[in-house]
């Protein structure tokens, strides 16, 4: 069994507890206007041309985005960091793209990681069949669950899919008291407004569960360069990055609702 992986990042310190390795699986059913990993969207191998300058001379090279790797190959990369995971109660995080888009592989990897005693986290948009969520949940110690937009129409407009499935899956995990962190990318002109915050809080109040915290992720426009390389139109390219401090008010509201809340993840 193989899956398409577009990056394995070591010393990831914002994707769950401790020192972690994050495995990025390629392919995503969403198409978020603010996506900072545009290379993760397509489920196919892609190539881009990179230019490197050495002593005034230009060298063009083809960069291949996406490697087909087996469970064993990914696991052996992940295990290289075991000493750091052990010292920090860290582990492995599967992200993307959307990791739930390659469910059989993800499950096999999660099982393999659990066998090695690793803490596992899945960073997901939640857009998958309920059966997929149910299938991997027993091997996932922590979900990093995106909650982007509460208004379904806006959700469809900005991400190309409805949020119904996402919210249903979240309700399932909350009702089963599965440990999770809620992650909210805060994007100017998209969800950086009081209505969305209020609706989020109402939703979470209506569905109590085992929420270990909320991460508010302020928009940054560092991916603009990536968009150029992928010849992908960036509809938000004119937006400025949000400073952490602009999210203080939102954080206070989540804290008042009883959630440990971090800005920047």
């Amino acid at each position: 069994m193989q899956a398409l992986v577009f990056d394995i990042k070591r010393f990831a310190v914002h994707d769950g507890p401790g020192i972690r390795t994050t495995v990025f699986l390629k392919g995503c059913p969403l198409n978020c206007a603010w996506c900072h990993n545009p290379e993760g969207i397509s489920p196919n191998v892609q190539t881009v041309i990179k230019t490197i300058r050495v002593d005034g001379k230009e060298f063009k090279e083809e960069e291949i985005i996406g490697n087909r790797l087996s469970v064993e190959q990914v696991l052996s990369e992940v295990l290289k960091e075991k000493v750091f995971m052990d010292s920090s109660e860290g582990g492995v995080t599967f992200s993307g793209g959307e990791p739930l888009m390659q469910p059989a592989f993800l499950k096999a990897l999660l099982v393999a990681c659990k066998k090695e005693g690793l803490h596992t986290a899945v960073d997901t948009s939640g857009y998958a069949k309920l059966s997929v969520v149910q299938d991997i949940a027993p091997y996932t110690d922590l979900f990093l669950y995106d909650l982007k937009l509460m208004d379904d129409q806006a959700h469809q407009f900005f991400t190309a899919v409805s949020n119904k499935l996402i919210l249903d899956n979240l309700i399932y995990l909350l009702e089963n008291r599965h440990p999770l962190r809620i992650r909210i990318p805060v994007i100017p002109e998209v969800n950086f407004n009081q209505e969305n915050t209020t609706e989020c809080l109402q939703f979470l109040a209506a569905h109590p569960g085992n929420i270990q915290g909320v991460d508010l992720l302020p928009y940054h426009n560092m991916a603009n360069q990536k968009y150029l390389r992928f010849k992908k139109e960036n509809s938000l390219s004119s937006l400025q990055s949000l400073p952490n401090s602009s999210l203080t008010k939102i954080r206070e509201q989540f804290e008042r609702a009883g959630f440990e809340t971090k800005i920047g993840g």
Binding site: H14, I52, V54, K57, F59, E61, E81, V83, S87, S88
Partner: protein, 807 residues
């Protein structure tokens, strides 16, 4: 002759000073920062007078040396700075720096260089220059130890030295590299005089052919012990004089109290907190006045030594924490008043800094193997953070048994971005010392000094002999033993580049060259050691390091319980990546012939940009946890380790290796063409065991994994530099993770790690506008320095070091 407009460059006013500091300490700290580093001829004139008047004519050499120290301490001026609590300056004023013409007499040209150079500048006034011209140079020229050393070196040693294969530590400074142990803090001079008496009574002239030498050495030690007591008494008299004139009641009482302390120590064992610090400081001054030993002197495990005094006095109410902190801060400032003695030529290049490497240890284990972190450890860490001074250097020893709060406190200080404290692995240090044959208790009482060198504190003479340029030896191997820069055949004929049929046969040639140059270097070191034994013994230092007194033998003559000589390897990253490149492109892919490759290096890759592109971007690099790239690391280590280990010096020291550069990687790069890893001509080689600057692309955990593939436990210290942006330390969670990162590296037996916490933008701005960053201190390599005092190439290199952003 006046210096350039850099006189105020060491002012640290840009950085906020905590409100915790008392007005007294603020004043002393400011005065220390503002004092101008200058050359002072007082000591040089006194020692010239002593020897030219034949004041010890006919005495044995150790006795002459002891009497010369006594002469200096009796006649040098006494300096008491306004409001200070710990007294004693090596020169007549803070940063007025003496010279040691008996070791190396500076020429008038040297003095001009010191007075005009931009970096590590020392002001030289007319009077000093005149004293040198008329009295000091005429007497010592041709008679100083440096002249003896250079005369004794073989032509092949001189050729290799000039080619930049190695440096020589004992050319301008004396051996030292040692640290105080428990005894120094528990005994007074009168106790040690008793020990000397006992030792003398044990000597058996009937059966011991060295009996007379021992008797003379003990006599010299006695004179030296009395000399420091007399010196303390001179301070007591001066303090009483000042007290009589003092109008402020509180200060008068202080001066009277300090006079009493100077009558108690160092003659008697210290009995309280203030006394123990003054006691150490007098001895420190004695060591750095007797000679100019490398790494000055060092109180070692200061939290362990001070804690019993602090505990007793705070329990009986005679001292509170605020008072203790103020005395400690006053003590700290004394170190900063004492820049390293001026270095010139290659010695200046290999260690281009005012820092004199007194590296204070905190934490670690007790002699019985328990967690040694105590309340004093945390107080000292507070002092380090608040004082923010270049000197003394500070480090923490981290054992598995130490609490997380300790390492997190230390990381929090490194976050403030002045490179201190550096972090060491106690459990590795102990194993390294045990591997060298130390007893478990002596190993647990040990630590690191200088940059990263392990030693058994209070019982070992561990002497650094010089840096060793591994990448340069590769260059010489590529040229069949010929050095293209000096145009001399300095190595063995091991074959022209095209004659090698396999990578293994090339490696055999490289190994032969390494062994060849190690033999030349160690032969030189053996002679130099004997020169010091015969001409420049150190009876004063010998009083404090066991078992010199008991054996009646000198510190430089094998009197200490353990004796080690180190040869410091430089450029491990550059040599590893160079071997990978040769193996891959010449022997595996056969994409270029060996002679064409060498030609491209000689031409600095001009017209060979394709090759350089492949070397930089298509060749595995050390530092990325890539087994292919790291494979040659073990080979180089093994070749170097086997070439050095096992040799024994005249005083019975084992030669061993460590891997650290100070600033020598810049000098070593400057004597080299382009190298096979893609480095261009003249640029620095890699430093310590850090990857080549910019070659690590997988983040810090990969660097640590690669670095852990070195057999640290068979070295006497390795140095790893990691640069983090301040953003990385943004919250408690991040600081905890850094602590855990360090613990993981130490679990893999890593010896040392240090953090540079500044963003590249700040550094670039400092380069452009040095005036805006006068107090900016950065971690260089085993020590911290003012960024403005670094050469441009070293500044560039620090900017280049990979930044591990927290994004």
């Amino acid at each position: 002759m006046s210096g350039p407009d850099l006189k105020q460059k060491s002012v640290g006013n840009n950085y906020p000073i905590s409100l915790m500091m008392t007005e007294r300490i603020k004043q002393l700290r400011r005065e220390s920062l503002e004092a101008v580093n200058s050359i002072n001829a007082e000591r040089a004139l006194l020692i010239t007078e002593f020897y030219s008047k034949h004041l010890a004519f006919g005495d044995s050499v150790p006795v002459q040396r002891a009497k010369s120290l006594q002469y200096i301490l009796r006649n040098k001026s006494i300096c008491i700075n306004d409001k200070e609590l710990i007294v004693g300056e090596r020169g007549p004023a803070p940063k007025a720096t003496p010279t040691y013409p008996e070791i190396n007499v500076h020429s008038l040209q040297d003095l001009d260089i010191l007075d005009t150079r931009e970096k590590v500048w020392f002001s030289v006034d007319k009077e000093t220059r005149k004293a040198y011209e008329e009295l000091i140079i005429p007497f010592w020229k041709g008679r100083c130890n440096r002249d003896r050393v250079m005369e004794s070196m073989s032509p092949e040693w001189l050729n290799a030295y000039q080619a930049g294969i190695f440096t020589e530590f004992m050319e301008q400074r004396a051996p030292g590299h040692t640290v105080a142990g428990y005894k120094l803090f528990q005994k007074g001079m009168l106790d040690i005089l008793q020990d000397i008496k006992q030792s003398r009574s044990n000597i058996d002239p009937l059966n011991d052919p060295a009996a007379y030498d021992k008797l003379e050495e003990l006599k010299a030690m006695e004179i030296a012990a009395h000399a420091i007591m007399d010196y303390a008494e001179r301070h007591a008299l001066k303090l009483e004089e000042l007290a009589a004139l003092e109008k402020d009641d509180q200060r008068r009482r202080e001066l009277q109290q300090m006079a009493k302390i100077c009558r108690r120590v160092p003659a008697h064992a210290p009995s309280n907190f203030h006394e123990v610090l003054q006691h150490y400081w007098f001895i420190h001054l004695g060591v750095i006045t007797e000679l100019n030993p490398w790494d000055s002197f060092n109180p070692g495990r200061l939290d362990q030594h001070l804690y019993p005094f602090y505990q007793a006095e705070t329990a009986d109410g005679s001292l509170n924490k605020e008072q203790a902190v103020e005395i400690l801060q006053s003590f700290w400032i004394k170190f900063n008043n004492h820049p390293a003695p001026p270095k010139v030529g290659i010695t200046a290049q290999e260690s281009n800094t005012y820092t004199d490497f007194s590296l204070i240890n905190h934490g670690g284990l007790t002699p019985d193997g328990k967690d040694a972190v105590n309340e004093m450890t945390f107080i000292l860490l507070d002092v380090i953070e608040e004082m923010r001074l270049l000197q003394p250097s500070s480090m923490v020893q981290l054992s598995e048994k130490n609490p997380d709060a300790f390492i997190e406190r230390a990381v929090r200080i490194t976050k403030t971005g002045f490179g201190q404290p550096s972090i060491f692995n106690t459990d590795a240090i102990i194993q390294e010392l045990l591997n060298q044959g130390k007893s478990l208790e002596d190993a647990r009482n040990g630590g690191c000094s200088g940059c990263v060198e392990v030693g058994a504190f209070g019982t070992e003479s561990y002497i650094l002999t010089g840096y060793f340029n591994l990448p340069k030896i590769l260059e010489v191997t590529l040229h069949d033993g010929f050095d293209p820069r000096t145009g001399k055949q300095i190595g063995l004929h091991t074959g022209k580049a095209d004659s090698f049929s396999s990578f293994d046969s090339f490696l055999v040639a490289f190994k032969a060259q390494v062994e060849h140059f190690v033999r030349i270097k160690l032969a030189g070191s053996n002679l130099i050691e004997k020169i010091f034994m015969n001409h420049v013994p150190t009876p004063f230092l010998s009083l404090f390091i066991d078992d010199c007194v008991a054996k009646g033998m000198d510190y430089v003559g094998g009197g200490t319980r353990y004796n080690t000589n180190y040869l410091q390897g430089v450029g491990l990253g550059t040599i590893t990546d160079s071997l990978t490149a040769i193996s891959l492109h010449i022997f595996e892919n056969k994409s270029i012939s060996f002679s064409e490759f060498v030609k491209a290096l000689e031409n600095n890759f001009s017209g060979a940009e394709d090759l350089r592109y492949r070397l930089l971007y298509k060749t595995p690099k050390y530092g990325n946890d890539d087994d292919l790239a790291d494979a040659h690391l073990a080979e180089v280590f093994d070749i170097y380790y086997r070439a050095v280990n096992g040799h024994v010096s005249p005083r019975g020291a084992q030669y061993r290796i460590n891997l650290l550069p100070t600033t020598c990687h810049v000098y070593f790069g400057s004597v080299m063409h382009a190298s096979p890893d893609g480095r261009k001509s003249g640029l620095p080689v890699s430093e310590g065991i850090s990857p080549v600057q910019g070659a690590d692309r997988q983040g810090p955990t990969s660097v640590l994994k690669s670095a852990a593939k070195i057999d640290h436990l068979h070295t006497g210290g390795t140095l790893l530099n990691q640069k983090f942006s301040p953003a990385f330390f943004e919250n408690d969670d991040a600081i905890r993770k850094l602590g855990q990162l360090i613990r993981a590296y130490f679990k893999m037996n890593g010896h040392h790690i240090q953090f540079n916490v500044v963003d590249a933008e700040t550094l670039r701005d400092a380069q452009k506008h040095p005036e805006r960053h006068q107090g900016l201190i950065v971690r260089v390599a085993g020590y911290s320095d003012y960024f403005n005092d670094l050469g441009t190439d070293l500044q560039n290199e620090i900017i280049l070091r990979t930044e591990h952003e927290s994004i």
